[in-house]
Symmetry: C2
DNA sequence: TCTCCAATTCTAGCGTTGCTAGCGAACAGG
DNA sequence: CCTGTTCGCTAGCAACGCTAGAATTGGAGA
């Protein structure tokens, strides 16, 4: 039965091509913004025709969602690094918050995919991708020392909201970039 | 010289038509979301042809921006009502925050225009529309009792960030709607 | 009142978008 | 070597934002 290994190779190649599409979409978005990521340009970039994209993803939204999942994994990793490289609950909190903000500032297109662009990502359900949970877990761990036993989740969610609000309003020009650090410090001091 | 009054009438009619366009855009967006607000459908609704839109606004973005300015005026008015109908700093804060959240929940398309859709609105500059300042002033007034003299603005900005983050993550499905009230209460208790 | 000119609105169309139908080539299996 | 299926491509659709140029409207002067 040579057929089986052939089938396996095909699936492998197919998975590779899917990765190629997702990373190409991500690179294009980070270089020129999401409005520049069209099916034609993306197909051009991966050197396939448009319809190939639709054999992997249901549509453009699904491609954005795939990039977003990647983004959540990256964000979770960076927050984890920020947390484990510090001692002391207060410093850990400050470091993780700074990592979150830095991520949003340095990868605006990725952050957009995660929080603005895509609406069709399952979040607090059983089929939520692991990467999404991982990010939230980091926040929960870092606020644990400051929470009463019964509201750890709640505090993590409020922290997340505060960080997202700060980042989001600043990036949209609603808040002046000037006092960004002071705002962040104030938020953290009130939550801790 | 009858020409002058004719000119005046024409300008009046023109202004009326502009209002018609903006309110039609707003109604269409609130009824079916912004993706349904196309130049063709909008032109249809106001019973003019597409190019008329471009004699009033530079493009679709400018129309969204005009709706957003309306939205800021509404939001400011509702927050003002919430503040002045209450006695006591803590209650005032809670009431204004609740008004903000209610606004975002009941008029999602409007909130979208104000915070997600449009990027091209001047905010902390001299030519910032009055409606935009008014909303922020309400927040500033309501946090004044809880701020040290030198960081009143900062605290208002952090409150705004927290509220926007809460609303934005909840609406995008990132936070379960379940504990929304408890999250809001926690945020306020930490800021006050 | 009739004609003319300027302002204004409409028709028609351009280039691009996301997405899909259906043809043609490539390739595993007999 | 032939056959059947799988796969990617060419071509095209409807709808998008936006614009050029024709057509219509309506005030002004004879």
């Amino acid at each position: 039965m040579a057929g089986m290994s052939i089938h396996a190779r095909r699936e492998r190649e197919r998975a590779e091509r899917e990765r190629l599409i997702v990373t190409a979409a991500r690179e294009l978005a980070e270089a020129e913004g999401w409005e520049a990521v069209t099916t034609r340009r993306l197909a051009d970039r991966v050197e396939y025709s448009q319809p190939v994209l639709y054999s992997h993803f249901k549509g453009m939204d699904a491609i954005v969602a795939a990039v977003a999942v990647d983004g959540f994994a990256d964000l979770a990793a960076e927050m984890r690094a920020a947390r484990t490289s510090t001692r002391g609950p207060k410093r850990a909190l400050a470091n993780v918050a700074a990592a979150y903000v830095a991520f949003a500032e340095q990868r605006p297109a990725l952050y957009d995919a995660m929080f603005n662009q895509t609406v069709s990502l399952a979040f607090a359900t059983p089929e939520t991708p692991a990467a999404l949970r991982a990010g939230f877990d980091e926040l929960r761990q870092v606020v644990r020392p400051f929470a009463a036993d019964d509201n750890e989740d709640l505090l993590a969610e409020v922290l997340w909201s505060g960080l997202h609000g700060l980042v989001s309003l600043t990036r949209g020009g609603r808040l002046p970039r000037e006092n960004h650090d002071r705002r962040l410090a104030l938020l953290l001091s009130r939550l801790a």
